[in-house]
């Protein structure tokens, strides 16, 4: 097949995207496909029109690649593409919208409040910080509304830290969430073609339970797949993850990140296009399910063409 591999882009996750793209390109070539690697730029549409690929493999992360921008172009050009379609991408990319949809579908997600830069700057929203803290409790996590990676995330343990945490979060997006900090085990469920792959657990190597940021440092966490969970726990986590995937309208593949708290799993976010590097969680989960990287890539392509 003639595959256009989209990678790079202008988001802050350009680096991961290039690594995802390289690994996927290798797999596509191994599988005998013809690959045309494209970065996002002024000639993107021109290239796609000229080459008329059978399918576009989207290895982009973050804004423009994961938020529906590229997907809607491809849909307009009538080129099938991997991963979720436009609307699902938009829902996943906007963490606040995603949480509303989860709640409407009766799915558990931590309490939150959303602030836009405009509301703070122009409408005096800062005087509601106290009320926000009452609603979500302390500690809380401040994070940008639409970044895929861990950039801009800060833990707040007292009211006075909110301006600082919001300045950070709002550096990455014009809206930010204040979300209840839920302690528990950190899990990721990758969904491939509507089926849950084995659960991955991120185990912090540092023991400070509030040190959210440490988990994202190199060596800050190790990953276990399948996660060491009981049968009933696994079933519940998978049920919630699949329901979240469906509630947001995802298709092809996606990854649902959850916290397994004492009273059950809580969905934190859904990544429309999770990382596809060798060490990313989706490939690890696929491997645990008996699908090697090439087989996983072929399956993602088949799902796009279905």
């Amino acid at each position: 097949m003639k595959v256009a591999l989209l990678q790079g882009g202008r988001s802050l996750e350009r680096g991961v995207s290039i690594r995802s793209g390289l690994r996927v390109t290798e797999a596509l070539l191994d599988l005998g496909h013809e690959v045309d690697v494209l970065d996002l730029g002024p000639d993107l549409v021109g290239q796609l029109e000229k080459n008329r690929p059978d399918v576009a493999f989207i290895a982009l992360h973050g804004t423009e690649g994961e938020d529906g921008t590229v997907q809607s172009l491809l849909e307009l050009l009538d080129i099938p593409h991997t991963g979720p379609r436009v609307a699902a991408c938009k829902r996943c990319m906007d963490k606040s919208l995603a949480k509303y949809i989860l709640r409407e579908n009766g799915l558990p997600t931590p309490d939150w409040v959303t602030y836009s830069e405009a509301a703070i700057r122009d409408f005096g929203a800062a005087s509601t910080f106290g009320a926000a803290v009452e609603r979500v409790g302390l500690p809380l996590v401040a994070k940008p509304c639409s970044q895929g990676s861990s950039l801009g995330v800060k833990v707040v343990t007292e009211l006075e830290q909110i301006p600082n945490a919001l300045i950070t979060a709002l550096s990455y997006d014009d809206r930010a969430l204040l979300e209840t900090w839920v302690s528990g085990r950190e899990l990721a469920v990758s969904v491939l073609g509507g089926e849950a792959l084995p659960v991955v657990e991120a185990i912090p190597t540092k023991s400070n339970s509030y040190d959210f940021e440490a988990r994202y440092e190199i060596g800050g966490a190790s990953f276990e797949c399948p996660a060491d969970l009981g049968e009933a726990e696994t079933a519940e986590v998978e049920r919630v993850a699949l329901a979240a995937y469906e509630a947001l309208g995802c298709s092809g593949f996606s990854r649902v990140d959850l916290i397994l708290a004492e009273d059950g799993p809580q969905v934190l976010e859904i990544n429309a296009i999770p990382g596809l590097t060798e060490t990313s969680l989706l490939p690890q989960a696929a491997e645990a399910a008996g699908l090697d990287f090439n087989a996983m890539v072929q399956k993602i392509l088949d799902l796009a063409m279905a």
Partner: protein, 408 residues
């Protein structure tokens, strides 16, 4: 900051629409194409087989002789036999660290230090201790304190790494008095000093100061040089000047790393420095960079927020600026990248997360109009974030110390 996420963020700076004040690039656009063509023609006529062949690991004799000349321009006398040619200054840092450092060994360096040295030191698992600088470079009183403290811990640093002239990223120059004292300390305590001097010839004003190597005579000072900033970064030619026992180890290390530096580029550089107008070329570059520094400084005065500070380097490629401390330059970079401008956030120049509100700005690799536009955009995002912070902290609910009033 999550270091891998940070690296990913820096990937965007390579996109053509981004004004990158993040690099350390020399301006190579004014190198005369005729001079380049003439060198290539000469190679075609006389040296094709030779430049396509391996060369000696320590570097070609012609290049080493020219390095002696280039160093003499800074009143530093060296013996060509003490020189090892390396594949850029970066390999010189790597080799000297490789041959001298075992895991856990202490390296002392400037705070902030060259961001490219940190991954090298860390990959050899060195215990890096950074010494604060002021307008006169590394604070030798603090160095002495650290040395005492290390002695009390039963540790001896393997070497002190410093860029004494037009420091990267700080832009400051180590004063003569401190140079003398540093060399004395090296002798008294028998500690090696690695003097990294990529920018010494790029002086915009003031009198040159003696290199540490010339003050010491090459007993306890190892010298690192490069053609990257005075001729071309693409040729990848740097060098090390070391006492013989160290040189033998360095040559073994280089053999293992890459056998020899490119014969072709050594031939090119050797002849350019022997026959070409390199002094005029360096003078021309210095003029370009001086003008760019001035443009950057006046743009900063115009666009940076009240409370931001910066220095005026007398040479080199970089300005170190510090924003009001409520701003993190790592976060600010994300915002700046959304406006297509980049810089290096301060923490990249430290091993321990210091420098959160500082940034390194490069003025050598970007044209004047782009410098002004880049600084304007950085200033704009900084002001926006400060304003937002102020709005948040001035409500009744958030009674926090306010940032100083912005006069604009």
């Amino acid at each position: 900051m999550r270091s891998s996420a940070m690296r990913d963020m820096m990937e965007i700076t390579a996109r053509p629409e981004v004004i990158s004040l993040a690099g350390g690039l020399p301006d190579t656009s004014t190198f005369p194409a005729e001079a380049f063509a003439a060198e290539m023609l000469r190679i075609e006529k006389t040296a094709v087989a030779e430049v396509l062949q391996y060369g000696p690991t320590e570097g070609s004799m012609l290049v080493r002789e020219q390095i002696v000349e280039v160093m003499a321009a800074e009143n530093t006398r060296v013996d060509s036999m003490d020189i090892t040619v390396t594949t850029g200054g970066q390999q010189a840092i790597d080799l000297i660290t490789k041959v001298l450092i075992d895991p856990g060994d202490v390296i002392i360096c400037d705070a902030p230090t060259y961001p490219g040295a940190i991954p090298t030191f860390c990959s050899y698992e060195a215990d890096v201790r950074q010494i604060e600088m002021d307008a006169d470079g590394m604070r030798i009183d603090l160095l002495e304190e650290t040395l005492e403290q290390l002695e009390a811990e039963g540790k001896r640093p393997k070497f002190i790494y410093s860029i004494p002239t037009f420091q990267n990223p700080g832009g400051v120059t180590l004063s003569l008095e401190r140079r003398r004292r540093l060399v004395e300390i090296a002798r008294e305590k028998e500690i090696l000093v690695i003097e990294d001097n990529p920018y010494g010839l790029l002086r915009f004003e003031g009198e040159p100061l003696p290199t540490l190597y010339s003050l010491d005579g090459g007993n306890f000072v190892v010298y690192l040089g490069t053609f990257s900033k005075i001729l071309s970064a693409g040729l990848r030619i740097g060098w090390l000047v070391t006492p013989t026992p160290i040189r033998e180890k360095v040559v073994l290390g280089k053999q293992a790393a890459d056998l020899c530096t490119s014969t072709l580029t050594q031939d090119f550089a050797g002849h350019f420095f022997r026959d070409g107008a390199w002094r005029e070329y360096v003078e021309e570059l210095t003029g370009i960079y001086r003008a760019r520094r001035d443009v950057m400084i006046s743009a900063m005065a115009e666009y940076f927020p009240h409370g931001a500070t910066w220095n005026k380097p007398a040479g080199g490629l970089f300005i170190w600026a510090t924003m009001p401390d409520v701003l993190s330059t790592e976060d600010l970079l994300a915002k700046a990248l959304s406006r297509n401008v980049a810089f290096v956030p301060g923490p990249n120049a430290y091993v321990d997360g210091r420098g959160a509100s500082s940034m390194r700005l490069n003025f050598s690799g970007v044209k004047e109009d782009e410098i002004i536009e880049g600084i304007r955009r950085i200033g704009q995002v900084a002001r926006e974030m400060l304003k937002l912070y102020e709005t948040m902290t001035s409500t009744d609910e958030m009674k926090l110390p306010r940032t100083e009033e912005d006069p604009s």
